[in-house]
Amino acid sequence: MALELKSSDNKIFEVEELVAVQSETIKSLVEDGCADNVIPLPNVDSKTLELVLDWCKNHVDMKLDEEKLKEYEDKFIEVDQAVLYDLLLAANYLNIKDLLNRACQKVADMLKGKTPEQIRETLNIVNDFSPEEEEEIRKENLWAFEE
């Protein structure tokens, strides 16, 4: 049984139901009987969707081979930051738990041992503390800085 998914840039992907329902979002659509036509996914572009579907397919195929699956996952997640974030957003939107977890873990690994400035740079976050607030919070957490 095949489903049709449409990315934000209007590309159609034909996918086996078994693969597509790795996404809880799609799964509920199928269960509610709303998956007869093309399913639009306005929050996911074709590049990302292709990757996501590859993840889902491999998780069906390698379900019984844990070692092979882990090897695949590790390789899969070695992507640059922009792609990683797209995967994160897509996994969240499509509710694919294992992909979301793996992507979060990758981001967490990127943050380990970094100073707040480095974290801001990595995640592209603006420092919105006032100078007084910043000093206060630094003082409070000074124990986490030097060895």
Partner: protein, 334 residues
């Protein structure tokens, strides 16, 4: 210099701004094993700080020290313990360091000046020393020679720290104080409290504690004098984080928290007795002053003293009920 509007726009463009809180928390919880990660993340932005405090630290406290949390919340008017989740978490995982346990406050009279009145000759000689060295701001490497316990010597470990660190207002951390103010205030500890900065050795200010992070009531009850047995004090696992100062004793540092501090007998004693506070700020919250439990006779008497007058156990409590303290080895001959 960007204005807040530009900053806000930039934030909206970032991926992280688009992520829901539960995804961000999913990432944060993967950093749980090392407490320093969360502390650093909390310094990144106001949103991260809020998530770390109200979710991560709260969760961590509730799962690792559930009985302490439920005790603290049952009496709190707000839904967080006194000093907040950040303070409680820090108390659970951080050793207060020699500074906040009051070890570095030691001087030749161990708080007797507060009890008996100031020793004029001592104070005058100290003022003289400080004035002479006022212009010395060189950050020389720290050397800790043994401090003489002789009363005529106005030099102590504390002076060493003061002169060897650079005083920097902008970057100053715990324990900042103007030594001149201390001398003016006859109620405070005799020796000038040195100003401390990042240059101060790591172990002297609060840092990640070694060992298991647990707080128990049993240990706390062993510490307090008999008349306070109804007060509930949670203390970290004994012996606490061990430190030693060259040529001096070993100090085992501990920390703890009172349940319902403002309703405790200890509080009544120090508050009603109008005990003066020490200009030693709390290691865990914003309280700038603390009370000396040893000189307020709240600690068990049998701990006793060493030959040079140093108490075997000392502890300091802040208005939120956070306790920092140190105990030394027993003297060889009691």
């Amino acid at each position: 210099m960007e204005d807040m509007l530009t900053k806000k726009k930039k934030m909206e463009d970032t991926v992280f701004a688009k992520l829901s809180d539960d995804v961000v928390l999913n990432i944060f919880f993967k950093l749980e094993d090392d407490p320093r990660n969360w502390a650093r993340v909390a310094c990144v932005s106001t949103k991260f700080s809020s998530l770390i405090r109200n979710v991560c630290w709260r969760n961590k406290c509730t799962t690792t020290i559930p009985s302490v949390v439920s005790d603290l919340l049952s009496s709190a008017t707000a839904d967080s313990p006194p000093g907040g989740w950040a303070a409680l978490h820090k108390l659970a995982v951080c050793c207060p360091g020699l500074l906040h346990s009051g070890v570095l406050l030691e001087n030749s009279d161990f708080g007797l000046e507060r009890e008996l009145g100031p020793d004029e000759t001592f104070r005058n000689s100290l003022t003289l020393t400080l004035n002479n060295n006022n212009t010395d701001t060189n950050n020389t490497p720290q050397t800790h020679e043994a401090s003489s316990s002789s009363n005529s010597c106005s030099w102590s470990l504390y002076d060493d720290l003061y002169f060897d660190t650079v005083y920097d207002v902008a970057g100053s951390t715990e324990g900042t104080m103007n030594p001149v103010e201390v001398l003016e205030n006859s109620n405070s500890v005799g020796v000038g409290v040195g100003v401390v900065k990042d240059g101060i050795e790591y172990s002297k200010r609060s840092h990640l504690a070694s060992g298991v992070w647990n707080l128990s009531r049993e240990e706390g009850s062993k510490l307090l004098a008999r008349q306070f047995r109804d007060d509930c004090l949670y203390i970290c696992d004994w012996p606490g984080c061990a430190h030693n100062i060259e040529d001096k004793r070993n100090y085992m540092l501990f920390r703890g928290i009172f349940k319902n501090f403002k309703r405790s007998r200890v509080w009544r004693t120090i508050n009603d007795g109008n005990r003066s506070r020490v200009d030693l700020n709390c290691a865990f919250c914003e309280c700038k002053q603390t009370w000396d439990l040893h000189s307020a006779f709240c600690l068990r008497r049998y701990f006793g003293f060493h030959d040079d007058g140093e108490p075997v156990v000392r502890a300091y409590v802040c208005e939120n009920g956070h306790v920092s303290g140190a105990w030394t080895d027993w003297p060889l001959y009691t």
